[in-house]
Each structure stands twice: as C-alpha cells, then as structure tokens.
C-alpha cells in the first residue's frame, strides 16, 4: 500500500514535469481516445490521420528513442498508454512483469496478413503468440560509405580498425553496442557470463577512441551527410540512406547479427482496449502496412504489403527481406533484472572511460 501511495505522489510530480519532462500522464480515459507510444519516425503520419478519419478516434501519439526509455515510462503507470510498439526482449520483460495483456485476436481480423514465420520467430519472446503482433522487423548491420572505406566490409572487426579513427558511429544503446562486441568475440548476444561481458566491455573501451560519437537516430543523417565512414545501423534505414546517398551500402557481417521484431502490444492498464485493437487491426491492413513501409522503409512482416511493393528491386531486396535461414542470427532475450543490471553497470564503464 505504501508503494501505491508513493506512485500517486509520483504521478503528481511527473505531471509537474520535473523528473521526466512533459509526459502525457494517466489522464487517458474518456471514450474516443487512443494513446499510442511508438518509436520515433516509425510511421507515415498520414496513416495516423487516416485512422482518425476512418474511426473517429482521437490519437495521442508519443515517441521514444530506446526500449529502455519506453520501459521507464510505462513502469510508472501502464495506463499512460494503450498501445505500444517495443522490441522482442522488451516485450518479454513487459510480459514477465505483468505490464501487458493478452490480445483478443477475434477483434484483429487483419492479423491474417502477417506472415506465419514472423509469429514463429516471435515465440522466442512471446511463446504462445498471445501478447504481440509484429509491426516491423530487420537486422543490425554496418552502413558504410564506399568512397571512404576501401577495405571489404564483411566483419564487425572493421569497427576496431584504427584506419577509421574518428569515422565510426556506434549505437548509443546498451544491447546493440554489446551485441557487436560479443559477437565479434564469438559469444552469444544474450550471454549472462560475467567474464564474456567483461571482455566485451574491454573491447568497447578499446574502441572508444576510434568512435566519433554514440548516437541512435542520428546515425542515418550523419551517414547521409558523410560525417562518418562506418556506422552501426538497423537494416530498415538501408533503403532510405541508399536512396539519399548512393555511396552508402548496408552489410550484415559474416559473424552474425541480431534479428529484431518490433511488435504491437496492449498495456495492462489500458483504458481504451477496443480502440487499441482497432489500431492494431488498422496497422495490419495491407494497404496501410505498405504505406508505412514506403515511408519508413523498415521491413514489414505483412505479406499482403510485401506482395504489392511496386519497386521490384526493393521487393526482392536481400537487405529489406533477407533469408534468415542462411544467416547467423539471434534475437535478443530479456536477461532478467540481474542481467540488465550487469549490462547497465558495464555499459556505464564504457561510457565513462576516456
């Protein structure tokens, strides 16, 4: 009960915007509203308007930059948002901490458009496929500028090549940064083995002087603007960046990489479950998924949309729609509270090193 009271006090302070900034608080409620929490630049904004027009539901749309930020916000009050789009391991964490609810698939008929293999992959974090419906998926790889790199880019090791000192962009998120260092050493990206993680930490610290900056969304713009030669990036940005700057090429290193799925989930405390179901159903519609794909260029698991992509090159692109069976890929898993803490502490060592 004491905790309960505290959370009320917290909510008050949060509305004050003193601790977290301006967040939409727990005022979700009255009919005809829907609070959506999605990644930044992860939707064609037209789609939101179209949804509002067709359903008469008012959408309040907020964005996050990392899964961890999203979690910190939901952990205070799961009713702050109705529908959220986290990644695999974070869905597992939300599920294990009882922060999301099972979906009623009867109300989401368009789910038939989502390819069955994506539900198979989802089983690693949602074993019974009860909580989540895939929205986008992809891999993590290296984006490089052909005019600035004259070596063959096929290994994570190139990110440790002193030749490219000051030309490398790393991901400023703990799991992605560690994935690179762990796989480079031949370890699993989901390892909880302290000595393996420490080895990765040592590698990341050794790499730090070569790194120009640790960024997330800015990798895209900095690579397009030729600020850097090499950057760790999500496959979804590959089509867009190549379109903006033809010298850029995306590669999945031979050692393997992470395959990720971002899926829609409905929060435990949602007060607009029906609207949230309508939203997910809308997102699963073939034409909407295609519209989103064309705008954000992140691979869609929507088979209906995949069929209707007009550009043959993109439709058959190995980058946008890779054959995962020929690649060494693994999805992130939630590592438990101890695992999270271990990684967070080690990451702090990397970030505070000189």
């Amino acid at each position: 009960m004491k905790k309960r009271l505290l959370s009320v006090v917290l909510a008050v302070a949060m509305t004050a915007g003193l601790l977290i900034g301006c967040g939409s608080s727990s005022s979700a409620g009255s009919n005809g509203k829907l609070y959506v929490y999605n990644w930044g630049e992860y939707i064609d904004e037209d789609v939101i308007r179209q949804f509002e027009e067709e359903t008469g539901i008012k959408v309040i749309y907020d964005m996050f930059e990392t899964n961890e930020i999203m979690y910190a916000k939901l952990a205070q009050d799961t009713s702050a948002y109705d529908v959220v789009c986290p990644s695999d391991y974070m869905i597992q964490k939300l599920r294990e901490n009882d922060m999301i609810q099972p979906l009623n698939f009867d109300n989401i008929p368009n789910v038939k458009n989502i390819g069955q293999q994506y539900f198979e992959t989802s089983k690693s974090f949602d074993p019974e496929n009860k909580y989540s419906i895939p929205y986008c998926w992809g891999t993590v790889g290296i984006l490089y500028n052909k005019t600035m790199v004259d070596d063959v880019v096929d290994s994570w090791n190139i990110l440790w090549d002193e030749k490219y000192s000051g030309q490398i962009l790393m991901q400023d998120s703990v799991r992605d940064a560690y994935m690179v260092a762990l796989i480079k050493n031949g370890y699993s990206q989901n390892t909880k083995n302290a000595s393996e993680i420490e080895k990765a930490t040592a590698d990341l610290i050794a790499q730090k002087p070569l790194v120009q900056a640790y960024v997330i969304d800015q990798v895209r713009d900095k690579m397009i603007g030729e600020e850097a030669a090499l950057g760790v990036i999500y496959s979804g940005e590959a089509i867009y960046t190549a379109r903006e700057n033809p010298d850029l090429e995306y590669v999945v290193p031979k050692e393997g990489t992470n395959v990720w799925i971002d899926s829609w989930v409905i929060t435990k405390g949602s007060k607009n479950v029906e609207n949230a179901e309508k939203w997910i159903d809308f997102m699963c519609r073939g034409d909407i998924a295609l519209k989103n794909f064309e705008y954000i260029t992140y691979s869609t698991p929507n088979t209906e949309a995949q069929k209707n992509i007009e550009d043959e090159d993109i439709k058959n692109s190995k980058v946008a729609f890779p054959d995962l069976s020929t690649m060494k890929v693994e999805a992130y898993q939630y590592l438990g509270e101890d695992g999270d803490k271990l990684y967070a502490d080690e990451w702090m060592k990397v970030k505070s090193a000189n």
Binding site: K2, I69, A72, G225, S352
Partner: protein
C-alpha cells in the same frame, strides 16, 4: 495595501505560492531524498550516495566540475569587461545592447545547442566556409572543448546580467570621490569598482556554475555521448537503467555541491553588506 495588513487575507493571498513551493519544490525534493536513501526493498541505506566513490561516477563528477569551472572562468573573463563597457555607456544604447545579449535566450536552448552541432560538424557550416577559404578546418565536435563552448555560449547571459546590474548600480559619486582623493585608474578599479560589483560576480558565478555542473543535454549533443558528465549519469539512471534509487543518490551528491555554493554566496553577501 490595506488588503495585506489583514493576516487572514495575506495568508490566503500567499497560498498559491505555498502550494507551488510544496508541490513543485518540497515534494520532489523529499522524493529525491527518499529514493536516494533507500534501496529497492525500501529500507534505509547510504549505498546509493556512497556509489559516487566508484571510479566511473567519480570521474564523471570530477570532469563535470572541471568543465564547469573552466566555463565559468571563461564566462567571467568575457562578461566582466563587457559589463564595464555596457555600464559606462549612455543609457539608451546600453539597454539596446543588453537586449541583444538576451535576444538568443528567446529561442529554446536545446535548439541553439543543436545548431552548434550542425555548425561544428566535420562537414558542417563552419568547416565548409573554412575549406572554401582554403583555411585549416576545426575539429572540436565530440570533444570537451565543444562542451565548454556550448556551456559558455548558453550560460554567458547569466554572467553578464548580474555583473552589469551590479556595475550600473555603483554611484558615480563614489568613483568621483575616489578620484578626488587621489586614486588612480587601477586603484579605483581594484578598491572601489571590483568590491562593489562583487555580489554581481558571485551571483553570476552561481548562475553559470550550477547549470553547467548539472547539464546533460549539452554534453550529449556536443560531446557525441562520448564524454559522460554527472548529469548524464543521473539522467541515464532515470530514463535508461530505471534505477531511481541510484539516480537520486547521485543527485543528493550534486545537491551537496549546490548547497556549498549557496553557503559561499551567502557568506560573501554578508561580507559585502559590511562594506
């Protein structure tokens, strides 16, 4: 003024401010103290505060202190002569100039910092111009130098204004009297102007040093997230790691620094009063 003589009414009138102070200052402060001095189970501990001694955190704190001291010093060196110039000017022109210095503050500080990022980038505006003129390029983005630049740029007005205020309030007659009694330029400055402007200097230092010490936005944007300041670490505890206890514990350490600063300011103020 009758209104305020009545105790009841004055109590009523001040209630919004009291409510404001309680909700927005006392409650958050109490929560920081509560979280900072408890662990996950809710029992009392000094662990969170003590973790500042860990090498990573200590280094971030020392670096924050170092960078904010340098920025404060640079701000002072830039602001004091400017304050002297402004206060010695004819009234109309100096208000115009002061407005010029405040003008950038009308734009959001994050946007201004973001602009610096674009200006300083390897292929940014400044370097493009330099390359065009066949001059060597500058590469300070993602270094401590860029962070200091960002701090100085953002916080300079907070140094200028109090110094300018203090200087322009000095009675001209005092200076004339000093001259009359045989003090030279330097002596007048050192024994009259400088001591009289001391309160302005001290509040200027406070207003630059404290925001510089606690900033995390400037170091993220201009430091490329490579240089962690104590503000970044606290921010990450709240937003990324979700460890409010540690975040609050480290905030308490920062609060101690701010308190020390305020105590010094108060002491100096009292001394200033005895002049």
């Amino acid at each position: 003024m009758k209104l305020f003589k009545d105790k009841k009414t004055s109590g009523l009138m001040s209630s919004p401010y009291i409510a404001w102070a309680v909700i927005f200052i006392l409650v958050p402060l109490g929560m920081v103290l509560y979280y900072g001095l408890t662990d996950n189970a809710g029992s009392f501990t000094f662990q969170n505060v003590a973790r500042i001694a860990e090498p990573g955190y200590m280094k971030a704190l020392l670096r924050s202190i170092e960078l904010s001291l340098i920025s404060t010093l640079i701000c002072f060196i830039l602001a004091y002569p400017l304050g002297l110039i402004l206060s010695s000017m004819k009234l109309q022109r100096d208000t115009f100039l002061v407005t010029l210095f405040i003008l950038p503050m009308w734009m959001n500080f994050l946007l201004r910092t973001l602009t610096w990022m674009t200006l300083l980038e390897g292929k940014g505006v400044i370097n493009t111009v330099l390359t065009f003129l066949h001059l060597p390029t500058i590469n300070i983005i993602n270094t401590p130098g860029a962070i200091i630049l960002g701090m100085v740029y953002n916080f300079l007005p907070f140094m200028i204004l109090p110094i300018y205020n203090a200087l322009s309030r000095i009675d001209e007659n005092v200076i004339n009297a000093a001259r009359d009694l045989g003090a030279g330029q330097l002596q007048t400055f050192l024994r009259i102007i400088l001591p009289l402007s001391l309160p302005g200097i001290i509040s200027g230092i406070t207003m630059v040093f404290i925001p510089a010490l606690t900033t995390f936005a400037i170091s993220t944007m201009l430091g490329g997230s490579k240089i962690l300041l104590i503000g970044n670490i606290i921010e990450q505890q709240f937003t990324q790691v979700y460890d409010w206890h540690l975040g609050s514990g480290l905030s308490i350490v920062l609060m101690i620094f701010i308190l020390i600063n305020m105590i010094i300011e108060n002491l100096a103020d009292k001394e200033g009063g005895t002049f």
